[in-house]
Symmetry: C2
Subunit: 389 residues, 2 copies
Amino acid sequence: MLGNFEYHNPTKLYFGDESLQYLNTELKNYGKNVMLVYGGGSIKKSGLYDEIVDILKENGKNIVEDSGVMPNPTVEKLNEGVKIARENNVDLILAVGGGSVCDYSKAVSVSVHCNDDPWEKYYIRFEEPDCKIVPVGCVLTMAGTGSEMNGGAVITNHETKQKIGHVFGDNVMPKFSILNPKYTMTLPKYQMCAGIYDIMNHICEQYFSGEDDNTSDYISEALMKSVIAASRIAKDDPNNYEARSNIMWTAAWALNTLVAKGKSTDWMVHMLGQSVGAYTDATHGMTLAAVSLPYYRYIMKYGLPKFKRFAVNVWDVDPAGKSDEQIAAEGLNAMESWMNELGLVMNISDLGATADMIEGIADGTIIMTGGYKVLDRDEIIGILKASLK
Amino acid sequence: MLGNFEYHNPTKLYFGDESLQYLNTELKNYGKNVMLVYGGGSIKKSGLYDEIVDILKENGKNIVEDSGVMPNPTVEKLNEGVKIARENNVDLILAVGGGSVCDYSKAVSVSVHCNDDPWEKYYIRFEEPDCKIVPVGCVLTMAGTGSEMNGGAVITNHETKQKIGHVFGDNVMPKFSILNPKYTMTLPKYQMCAGIYDIMNHICEQYFSGEDDNTSDYISEALMKSVIAASRIAKDDPNNYEARSNIMWTAAWALNTLVAKGKSTDWMVHMLGQSVGAYTDATHGMTLAAVSLPYYRYIMKYGLPKFKRFAVNVWDVDPAGKSDEQIAAEGLNAMESWMNELGLVMNISDLGATADMIEGIADGTIIMTGGYKVLDRDEIIGILKASLK
């Protein structure tokens, strides 16, 4: 049953290889001081940095730079960004990069005019913003996280070994996002494939929950089939614009609240992966890939009808003459083959995790209750051990 | 290829059997004068009228009534509504009803502060609004048109025998819509099934266009499968809340611009059906049903790969050992069986159209160019003749 819910997504998307021009349109809606947020400088190599600075200058903006956002943005970096934004009385935060840069920009946006410590307020006490929120716009250079059209913002605390996501409401979602599939083509294949798996897993986290077959399940299957088909083209031909554009579009819809409607949602793969990430600082999508199959094979029996449906509808498993368990298992095997095709990291050892970290990773794993099985600590340890090489 | 496009849908949806309470939340955002728009009075019988009037009064609103909106709202009614809205300095138009009431409310909203004749400006010259637009909110009582989350507004001119839709931009979309599946349960089965086919055809109009297989095609298939599955439950058990909620949710997503992204879109079934509607004043969804199969069977050969995909992915036609033409034809046969299951009107004679109207209906049919075949007048006449009993 779909139940009671609200749906509102105010983010305006400009999609396509000519979409950057709409930055001019959007800039007119905001004040003079723009904080330009980016990562390690790949946008300087690609020329995108210069293009954006030119547009900002043509529109008479004062540019405040905040660069060096790392793949897993840290509490220290967040505090630094908040300080820069405050000192420069920032009117708009323009995130140019992938999910980390977008996430970080949103975390800054809710902290600039907030007197509390952001980590304590948003990531420990999970409070909602009660202060003025600085508007955020995105120019996306990597497809995967969906951060361009949602309120999510994951921050890592290395001191406490915690990587935690806060999903804020529609008032924190980017006001606009510019999605040019060509910008994603400069990405190394490893990062592209990690992003593809991130998309796939976002959908799985929502799909593998709840009891009814509702519209969200059908849309989830559509998005999975689309990203699987496009990934099989892009892995061999990364410059295939059509494939890259379908991947980029699917990423936005995989995690903008739509396919969560009517679902309790799981998110245990993300909880496990994020805890692995806090210990290894590994690429987000690869941490998800490394724990996925041990997790899904463990919970399969608790959600057998859905895993069977997944096998038939997403992976075209022929159900004739097979038990439900066999059909479901074949679906997960088909997913494993596809993951291997993409060259995903299939165990946490290859990400730097070792047996002596397992207890700590388990303690850092937040236990969610919306999936088919609420895990206990022993089960988490079992799944993590099965994720070692 | 997805191409270049914008996506922005600002409509806030409140979904579920407890959603009416959020009218209180929304009313706080608007001024005192609320124009309450509804149709023939079924909302008085159901008690919804009283509930809404109570909420409006509790929120201190002045209520201006505009009732009697007919299933195919006319130019005369539009002009009357504009006059009422002007005289009462209306701050919010609250549409309580189905697609006709929502469409009509949007047509009024862009005309209140406009000096031109609305029919001439929006339906003949197809201009965009260049005046203040009165905000519209909806409480939906019928699922089908998608009007609750888009900028569309169809108006009928009986004098000139024209039924024309103008799809306005995101500034005309309802600010909020309240979707309670229980409100749709009071509808007669004929109307429920007409709405279901309207949903199905909205998706087909977008799906049967363009050359690539992109994300929108996958999402379209998902929405079609969802509405087909739910309709098969609802036709025998109209009070099945789960089925009615999936139908209502699918209706919104079938026509809120999402599945049109990357597609040229067709809309010829709507053009044919609307012209039939201008002559017969028949229920919208039934006019679409009555012309659909003659149209699709005629254009099938021009878009064979997509009709084949439709057969396999939507109707589970087994393609083994069959030609593409056979597979595609089996898909349309499966759709025909489903339409018969729902008791849809399968020819225009049963809607009151006669052979002597064919030339006039053909002349009133707007020819679109986004589908697989741009029809000429002879082809339109052929399809209409094939649609007679």
